[in-house]
């Protein structure tokens, strides 16, 4: 009997072994990271000096003592819900509107406003509370005598922002945070109405300097529409520190003694990745056709297999390269079209790889074509590497960042701007929170700094590509990936999760039907925000006849493939706003409840939850598996100065990323795979509806059989 294990067992072992997740505890004088917002591509703000650590410790002690006294202070002077005063004969009136210069006439509905008085002995007395109406107007009736009493030292109106819902003992609780204080001179209260006039709030504003809908974050620590929960921050900081220290060590070494460090050293310093582990046990396997097909189908890439129109049983996966986006001339990013045949075991095997675009630094013809087959010898191996790298890039930029992060953000902004009293806030916000924060961090670290320096696309090119990919993302008509075979576990898991989500959403709509209908106008406004700020449908703003035949073919090829890849039905009846055909379909076009929109709304809610949870989780947690080894896969291969360009073996390090980019890449793929907080079943913040968790638990075994541990499915996109 042979003692050798088969590849599946080795892969399974390595999967278990390389699973990310351990605690960092390096003692009192161990390096510290202040917060996730202090992460950098280069040297993050790590505190390592013992003196600084001691001072930092003392400051933290001071903060704790201060917080303690603040808590004591608040308990001495609590804000009780009782409303003082008998005769509500006077009113505070006003209007809430956005402060952004483009939205000065846009009302903010259903924000809570409270009117508080403070006595000379510092006790708080609530005098009134109300919500703004759909026009943003609010009226706070109060007892003038109580407000003008000699006991009252000062009065103020306070605007509260709805932040999140949570479950306490099975009961749903709303959490609102004070957003703005509006002091009022007590002596100005003279009866009838006191007008706070138009109160302008910088609340969930849309950026005007981006091509895709993004939220304004002026200062991620102090002036952001959301904050990470403390648990999220603590978990991340503990997880990130070891690899951050590794990265810093590498950067210092590269700077001070580059001759003492190699790419292999860098690779060895990071936790062992799946491919490294497998390579040790089964050399060559991770570069084989079998592994290539397996990872394209069920790995991070979750490739979309487009049926070949002429040859039944054959499929194509297409990774589009630099296309016509602004790019540099140091990195290769040709368009890779891979033809697969589905084997008897249901897994795909590559039969052809078509590369379009430059493969070396000399011939820059963007339309040059190269065909590789298994008969191409070593070049087949090189071509697979190029396709893999392009796949990694496309998956990270298109599927991951656009498909889940940016896609979820556009729904998050619209939802947070509008859903307050509508029960959909309870359904959606737990899944939409924090995405804008991590996207903001990604802007600087990844889009502006790392990717333009480690791949072919420039920052401008990335932005244009993001806009184009967002142009094929829509909830309307979206379906999970079609299952090609029993071995297509990703698609099976995706379909299973989609079923769980849609059934859960159906249940929720049935439970909360009255509330959803009652506050339908919130949905209408969310829809309007969503549609008005959506990007145009891909190519809808391009005159194809003005393109060259090659460009036109590429554009149409992309559109066709993207429609399949992102489940985009281009013939849906979409809205034209400001002269643009908007990619995102409206949730409703009616201010009042409209029966015909009911099922569409359920579909849209399911889509939002799906994108923010399973779809993001899948790519996110497989990043280190598929991009945890620099030579196996990376963001971009350099052309090098040789005429062979990227058609060279892995041993040719001049085409691999340099040492700095290598450590940065491993840092990022490792860091981004470390969620460790914010899961559906763990429900750390008690914000996930128990029904959702219950329904997911029912399928624990089925998911497990497909290689998915439901405990690892994120409840939100927060990394």
């Amino acid at each position: 009997m042979s003692t050798e294990k088969n590849p599946q067992e080795i892969c399974k072992e390595c999967h278990e072994k390389t699973r990310i997740g351990y605690q960092y505890n390096d003692g009192f004088f161990g390096p510290k990271l202040r917060s996730i917002n202090h992460l950098e591509v280069g040297r993050s703000k790590i505190i390592s000096s013992p003196i600084t650590i001691t001072l930092e410790f003392l400051y933290l002690v001071y903060e704790k003592v201060r917080d303690f006294f603040v808590r004591i202070w608040h308990s001495l002077f609590p804000r009780r819900p009782k409303i003082w005063g008998e005769h509500k004969n006077t009113r505070i009136v006003g209007t809430l509107r956005y402060a952004h210069r483009n939205e000065l006439d846009v009302p903010i509905h259903h924000l809570k406003i409270e009117f508080w008085a403070r006595t000379w002995w510092l006790q708080w007395r609530k005098l009134s509370e109300a919500y703004s109406d759909y026009e943003g107007n609010f009226v706070l009736p109060f007892d003038l005598r109580t407000a003008r009493s000699w006991k009252i030292k000062k009065v103020q109106a306070e605007v509260y922002q709805f932040t999140h819902t949570y479950y306490d003992g099975g009961l749903l609780k709303l959490h609102e945070e004070r957003f703005k204080v509006l002091p009022i001179r007590k002596k100005d209260l003279i009866g009838m109405s006191y007008n706070l006039r138009t109160v302008r709030l910088f609340l969930w504003e849309y950026r005007t300097d981006t091509m895709v809908p993004r939220v304004v974050i002026k200062d991620h620590d102090k002036d952001a529409p959301q904050k990470y929960s403390q648990g999220r921050k603590d978990a991340l900081i503990a997880q990130i520190l070891p690899i951050e220290l590794t990265k810093i060590k590498h950067l210092e070494q590269i700077k001070l003694a580059p001759e003492t460090i190699s790419l292999q050293d860098i690779q060895n310093d990071y936790p062992e990745s799946l491919t490294v582990c497998i390579e040790k046990k089964l050399p060559g396997y991770t570069r084989s056709d079998e592994w290539f097909g397996l990872r394209m189908m069920n790995g991070m890439n979750r490739g979309y297999f487009e049926p070949d129109p002429t040859e039944p049983g054959m499929y194509w996966i297409k990774y589009f390269g630099v296309c016509n986006y602004p790019h540099n001339n140091e990195y290769a990013l040709p368009t890779a079209e891979i033809k697969f045949r589905i084997k008897e075991n249901g897994l795909p095997t590559p039969v052809e790889i078509h590369l379009t675009g430059p493969l070396n630094a000399i011939d820059k013809n963007p339309w040059q074509k190269h065909l590789f087959t298994p008969e191409s010898g070593d070049k087949w191996l090189y071509a697979k590497r190029i396709a893999r790298v392009n796949g990694g890039f496309s998956t990270e930029v298109d599927e991951h960042f656009c498909g889940t992060h940016l896609n979820t953000e556009q729904y998050a902004i619209a939802a947070y701007r509008n859903l307050r009293l509508n029960p959909l806030s309870e359904l959606l916000l737990p899944h939409l929170k924090e995405v804008v924060l991590i996207n903001h961090s990604a802007d600087k670290m990844l889009l502006q700094e790392y990717i333009p320096s480690a791949t072919a696309l420039t920052y401008e090119g990335l932005q244009l590509r993001n806009k184009d990919v967002m142009g094929v993302l829509d909830w309307n008509g979206w379906k999970p990936m079609r299952v090609l075979s029993e071995a297509h576990t990703l698609a099976r898991a995706e379909n299973l999760f989609w079923n769980v989500v849609t059934e859960y959403v159906d249940w929720f709509f049935a439970e909360k039907e009255d509330g959803i209908k009652k506050y339908w106008k919130e949905i209408y406004r969310m829809s309007e925000d969503l549609v008005n700020n959506a990007v145009p449908v891909f190519l809808s703003d391009v005159n194809l006849d003005s393109l060259s035949p090659e460009e036109k073919h590429l554009a149409q090829n992309r559109l066709t493939y993207y429609c399949g890849q992102y489940g985009f039905e281009k013939n849906k009846n979409r809205q034209v706003r400001n002269g643009e055909l908007k990619a995102v379909s409206p949730l409703t076009l009616s201010e009042e409840y409209n029966e015909t929109d009911w099922n569409g709304l359920k579909q849209a809610c399911s889509y939002m939850i799906m994108m923010a949870t399973f779809m993001h989780t899948w790519i996110n947690e497989h990043q280190y598996d598929d991009m945890g080894e620099v030579l196996y896969n990376c963001g971009g291969l350099r052309f090098s100065e040789k005429p062979e360009g990227v058609l060279q073996p892995e041993s040719e390090l001049s085409i691999a990323p340099d040492l700095t980019r290598s450590t940065q890449m491993l840092f990022f793929t490792n860091f981004l795979s470390r969620t460790e907080y914010g899961f559906i079943t763990r429900n750390e913040e008690h914000d996930i509806n128990p029904e959702f968790k219950k329904r997911l638990e029912v399928h624990r075994k089925a998911f497990s059989d497909l290689g998915v541990n439901i405990d690892n499915i994120e409840s939100r996109t927060n990394i």
């Binding site: 005769h87 003279i190 009866g191 009838m192 109405s193 007008n195 006039r197």
Partner: protein, 366 residues
């Protein structure tokens, strides 16, 4: 929900009332004295309505009153009457001003059995002593622009101003005037009632000067319009000519309602109209002005809410926030009128408003 009666509650409420009454009294007295010392005597000025013209004639109570019978308003009774029209507060008729009528049922400068003062507009710019003092303190007039901050802070005040100003009035005679804050009315039947008064032209001439689409932003701008051709005294001249030509005939009307224990305090709120379907306006008398008084005589006149029979007087107020405190304040500012009279004796009557181009002013010095 009925609260439980307790000795504590009685004592507490009584002490509160005393304190409120004391604050009201001291406020009213202080206000009167401040006006007298800092405005009326040194500047020979009324508090606001300096720019006016007076006339005299007679008023006849209607022959078949439909309002509750009252001995003072006996059917067919004839009173001597003086009226004074004015524009508040500027010395320029062409500005966007509130117009007023003050009625005195006598031919004396002050002494009278019944005075009443009314302004244009159904509602007011203020509603209590507290709001009036705030209104006064936030005037901040500069070249015809005033109450900017007040209008921003108090929407009802702004609305009241929009209703009350009459920029394009063609005559003092064809504006409708309202007493706004109610008065006491105890008729022959001894039933306590509240009463509001108004004056309109006898022949139902359409009201002039109403801006149907006033600006929320520009209400504080009361300046004469660009390219204005009307002079500073055009309304006074028109009234003088009208009286000489055909006289000025008005209809004085009254609105009454029976006092109830559970009346909402808003009944007394001059910003809230009584429903005319339930409490219709009834003709009270007809005023006929046949003679215009000269500037000096007009200026020497004074009106007071204290000049009323006890059964038609000012309603009691409980605090500076009470809607009735507005009339209470008027009643306790008599010292200011006296100081103005003393100033005339001391400094002489201020001169007539000249027809010069000093537009947009509210004091004699400009």
């Amino acid at each position: 929900m009925t609260k439980k009666l307790s000795l504590y509650r009685i004592i507490r409420n009584r002490i509160r009332l005393w304190i409120d009454l004391f604050v009201l009294w001291i406020t009213a007295k202080a206000f009167g004295w401040m006006l007298a010392i800092f405005l009326s005597f040194p500047y020979r000025s009324r508090m606001s309505h300096n720019n006016g013209i007076a006339g005299q004639g007679q008023m006849k109570i209607v022959g078949n009153p439909e309002f509750p019978e009252h001995p003072f308003y006996a059917a067919g009774k004839v009173f001597p009457v003086r009226v004074r029209h004015a524009s508040a507060t500027f010395l320029d008729d062409a500005m966007n001003c509130i117009r007023s009528i003050s009625i005195k049922l006598s031919h004396n400068r002050f002494k009278s059995p019944f005075d009443i003062e009314m302004n244009s507009g159904q509602t007011s710019l203020f509603w209590s002593a507290a709001s009036f003092l705030k209104f006064g303190s936030m005037r901040k007039e500069k070249w015809g622009v005033e109450y900017v901050e007040y209008n921003r802070l108090y929407p009802e005040g702004l609305k009241g101003a929009q209703q009350a100003v009459r920029r394009h009035a063609t005559s003092f005679h064809n504006v409708h005037y309202y007493s706004k804050t109610p008065f006491l009315f105890v008729g022959k039947d001894g039933i306590k009632r509240y009463a509001k008064y108004r004056v309109k032209p006898f022949d139902d001439e359409p009201e002039s000067g109403i801006d149907n689409n006033p600006s929320d932003w520009d209400m504080s701008n009361q300046r004469v319009l660009p390219h204005e051709t009307r002079g500073r005294n055009f309304l006074k001249y028109e009234y003088e000519d009208r009286v000489k030509r055909e006289g000025a005939k008005y209809r004085l009307q009254i609105q009454t309602r029976i006092a109830q224990d559970d009346d909402d305090p808003e009944v007394f709120n001059n910003m809230i109209l009584w429903d005319e379907q339930i409490f219709p306006w009834q003709d009270l008398g007809v005023i006929e002005i046949t003679e215009v008084l000269d500037w000096k005589e007009s200026t020497r006149m004074g009106f007071s809410v204290n000049n009323m029979p006890k059964t038609l007087g000012v309603l009691p107020a409980k605090s500076i926030f009470d809607y009735n405190s507005l009339n209470y304040l008027r009643a306790h500012s008599e010292i200011a009128r006296k100081a103005r009279m003393w100033s005339y004796w001391f400094w002489g009557v201020p001169p007539e408003i000249p027809d010069n181009d000093n537009r947009n002013v509210s004091d004699w010095g400009k």
